[in-house]
Amino acid sequence: MPGEYHITVRVSDGKGGNAKGSGTVLAGLNGLEYIRIFPRVAEMKPAKSCASEPRVFIRTAT
């Protein structure tokens, strides 16, 4: 459904530590039926010297 979508990611270390990030996507064309985000959950073990960058995709369908 057209509108403003709030995208959030919750990063957890499994020991009670969490962080949240968010952004906004505008889906503004008529005919949009749904918005999908995948993968919804991902696990990654970061190297100590560099940050991990998991990537997800949003796809819409008419």
């Binding site: 459904m1 057209p2 509108g3 403003e4 979508y5 709030h6 995208i7 959030t8 990611v9 919750r10 990063v11 957890s12 270390d13 499994g14 020991k15 009670g16 530590g17 969490n18 962080a19 949240k20 990030g21 968010s22 952004g23 906004t24 996507v25 505008l26 889906a27 503004g28 064309l29 008529n30 005919g31 949009l32 039926e33 918005i35 999908r36 985000i37 993968p39 919804r40 959950v41 991902a42 696990e43 990654m44 073990k45 970061p46 190297a47 100590k48 560099c50 940050a51 991990s52 960058e53 998991p54 990537r55 997800v56 995709f57 949003i58 796809r59 819409t60 369908a61 008419t62």
Partner: protein, 137 residues
């Protein structure tokens, strides 16, 4: 924080039956197990429990008199007492801020954990409000 508990000649059951005495910090740990939890949670335990914990150990156990050893609670329960560092999100990036029907956009996040722990990323997309200027209610 240091707690004290018996570490020598601890009267206990023996493998195969019977009873005897054992030494070591593993036996001291059992005495302090009930103390470490309230200590780690601060002052959230009541007077009854506080008074009970202050009672001399030898009054609460049967058996021969217990020599008292020393156990470092911080080292013993290090993981429990010291909270791990929370993950840190360094950046959150959208490849596009607008999405059209049939289009795919990518979102990436850069995060790190001070302790090097494995991180779990859970994503969600929720509609905040409709676009009224497109004619939708």
């Amino acid at each position: 924080m240091d707690l004290y508990a018996p570490g020598e000649s601890i009267y206990s059951l023996e493998p195969g039956g019977g009873a005897g005495t054992r030494n070591g910090t593993s036996f001291s740990a059992a005495f302090n197990r009930g103390r470490g939890r309230p200590a780690a949670h601060g002052a959230a335990y009541n007077d009854h429990r506080r008074n009970r914990d202050r009672a001399p150990i030898r009054r609460r156990f049967h058996g021969p008199p217990l020599p008292v050893g020393r156990l470092n609670l911080e080292k013993t329960l290090g993981l429990f007492v010291t909270p791990s560092g929370a993950p840190v999100i360094d950046s959150f990036t959208l490849s596009e801020s607008n999405i059209s029907p049939g289009q795919t956009i990518s979102i990436s996040v850069a995060a790190h954990d001070p302790d090097g722990d494995p991180l779990t990323y859970t994503w969600d997309a929720r509609r905040r409000r409709p676009f009224r200027h497109f004619g939708h209610q």
